[in-house]
Amino acid sequence: MKWLVNWVDDRTGVKELVHESLYENIPGGAKWRYVSGSMLVFAFITQVITGMFLWMFYSAGSQNAWASVYHIQNVVPGGWVLRGIHHFMAQAMVVLLPVHMLQVIWEKAYQKPREINYWLGLVLLLITMGLGLTGYLLPWDQKGYFATKVATELMALPPVLGTSIQREVVGGSEYGHFTLTRFFALHAGVLPALLVGVLALHLAMFRKHGITAESSEKRPDQFFWPQQVLKDGVACLLLFVVVMAIVWYRGGAELTGPAEPTEGYKAARPEWYFLFLFQALKLFHSEFVGAIVVPGLVFMVLVLMPLVARIKFGHAFNVAFLVVLFVTASVLTYQALQQDYYAEWYPDSTEKKKVAASREFIDAKAQAHHDYERIRELIEHQGIPVEGPTKLVRNDPEIMGPRLFARSCASCHSYTDADGKGIAGPALPDKVDGKVQPTGAPNLYGFASRQWIENLLDPKKIVTTDYFGNTVHGQKDEDGEYDSAGMVAFVHDNLTDLSAEDQQKLKKVAWSLSGEAVLIRQSKQEAVDAKNGVMAAGRQLLTEEMGCTDCHKLGDVGDLGAAPDLTGYGSADWLRGMIQNPNHERFYGYEEDANDRMPAFSTPEGQLLSDHDIEMLVRWLRQDDKDLKAKLEASKAKE
């Protein structure tokens, strides 16, 4: 054994190397407070290791990036832990850096002859922040995309070169593949290489000058090995345990839905350690000042600290400056969080504007999580297509439906469940001269379902804003009467104070009509009711006793020309036709002003909504895709 060691040592000089690195003298002996530097090195090494493994799964590019991170997060065994460690260890680095820096300033370890090493430390700080910034974009999720976009927008601010810098960083005029390839190359190649180089210099210079401590009588000097190494090791292990605990507790790092450049994201925030810069942007009148001049000046002061220390009270100034800086950053961070979570922190607050702004943030965040869960369901259902996750999103009624509804339908219709949750319609009608001006249209939540039609046929409910209460059909004329040929008058005249038996009949009518919609979620119950004759009975009541077909057409019974067609009422085909052109004779075309205010969304003359958009709306309103398993079962049952 000894022979082997000597053989190697003769050829490499390894003994001296080991001796030099381990037997560094520590004046005054090993101390716990010397561990921060080693912890930072350990954190960086952890990032290199976990980063390389993540690299084995990651694929830069706007179709692949999110998909590959999703895969790491949800499919790769232990992938979420790997990504979690990388994510939270990065945060640990950002926490440890200022601690290390404060120590250096406090112990006067930045003063002569250690100025250059202090400056190297500042360079390391910048590189670490660069790693944080570039890493945040790589998952290409909503959060990372929009937060990073703010940062790159700011890069265009400096005069003359700004716009070119921005173009170089983004890799073109817009975000895309090349933004990711560049950020990834910086994050995994350029910046870590720089960091290793500067760190090597930093350590070499640290060794040259030794620890900034005096030998004391009380405590003898010690070598780095093994006392200090043990302390460092314990601290690093502790750090790792804490990071693992956070990973475990948080369920790994957050991933939001895939980036949708034209959709926007109302909860776009940078990583928490950049929040103070984010908040500072709200304060300054000029962005150039807020984003570049002020941070630049602060950094200049940091750079000049070793020189300032040479004048009288210079060191005291430096310490004070750092304290003020950290307190300011903390206050700004707190303010940013407070503004975002105001509605949650102060549920009883009367500050409407603050609550509203905070609600928007909280809701957007909740919506993003909701969308993410939905995308996860879609991926489990059909996998990620080669065109990328955006294709899943754009073709999913559950995600696109509400967006399209909010944009194109909610100026009249609402879509709210029994608890009032969902998409609110227009504000309630104003009373002008004691008369209600209709401003809305029916609530389409559960449209054409059994419950929806049962309520429509209820004299009390049909005049509420959920049905015709907010339309011309629900308005009384000057004599206090509803339009005698209208649905409201029919329901009021014929369906008020029904006997229990008649109520049962009415239910059957509603169920039979709802059957026209062929809703997947009612299919099981409808199959049962078809067997026991309820559906047929309802159909008979519809066309005979109830007299629905006196006005409406249903299948072969009745004629068009007095009321909308009930054939296939609420079915995909019916809804599509209704949205395309409500003025068609099948719908409200029977009379000049029968259609209250609904526009035709797609006619040969013009399209307000594309066929694809209408398809999304129709399937969402029918809740066809809400339960993907049920949909699959239904389509199998059909075959």
Binding site: R167, G171, H177, F178, T262, Y265, L281, Q607, L608
Partner: protein, 217 residues
């Protein structure tokens, strides 16, 4: 080398093989730098020039006459009847062909705009009582995406609290600071096409954070 020079060198205190020559030193530095800079220069050239490269539309799509508008950046958005008369803005996606790195993707959303009909204060000179107003959805402050809030009747930015009135001007609210350096970026609506009830808008992005509205190339 001869014995004589050897002796001379030894006298000067340095062995002949170790004599430094100024020219040799210069040459070593230049050659070494060149060798090192070569690969760096080629790499930097590729990376720095690429973002400024002229994008060529694939032949198949080049046949079509661009966006169909009067200028290259003019796009059909919607028809006039999709806008309500009460002046409430609606958000529309701008659909166009797009480059993304090595991909060419036809008919992609490339951005979003807000359209609304705003009443015209023209003393009844024009037969039209309103005009169609188009705004970029990108906030001129830091590039987040503004959204219209009915309850405030304003465009609000979710990032740094910028807010804008329906006509795009900055809204100054008591107790909150509006950091935007300029009004919301207005886009040009083609008047001629408007006569045919079609809304065509000249769409592009602007640099954010400046007082002036500067178009991104």
């Amino acid at each position: 080398m001869s014995d004589r020079t050897d002796a001379q060198d030894t006298q000067a205190g340095e062995p002949a093989g170790k004599r430094r020559g100024f020219l040799v030193e210069i040459a070593a530095i230049v050659v070494g730098t060149l060798a090192g800079l070569g690969p760096l220069a080629v790499g930097l050239y590729a990376v720095l020039m690429e973002p400024f490269r002229q994008r060529t539309v694939p032949r198949k799509y080049n046949q079509a006459t661009g966006s169909g508008g009067t200028s290259e950046d003019e796009y059909f958005i919607t028809t006039i009847d999709s806008l309500s008369n009460d002046g409430v803005p609606r958000r529309f996606e701008v659909i166009a062909d797009k480059f993304d790195g090595w991909n060419y993707i036809p008919n992609q959303p490339i951005g979003a705009i807000y359209l609304s009909k705003q009443p015209l204060d023209n003393d009844g000179k024009s037969p039209q009582e309103w005009e169609v107003v188009a705004f970029q959805t990108t906030c001129p402050h830091a590039g987040c995406s503004v959204s219209y809030e009915q309850s405030d009747e304003a465009f609000l930015c979710p990032c740094h609290n910028s807010s804008f009135n329906l006509d795009g001007t900055k809204r100054e609210q008591e107790g909150s600071h509006n950091p935007s350096p300029r009004p919301l970026d207005r886009l040009t609506v083609n008047e001629a096409k408007l006569a045919d009830d079609e809304i065509w808008v000249e769409f592009f992005d602007f640099y954010t954070g400046n007082k002036e509205k500067v178009r991104k190339a």
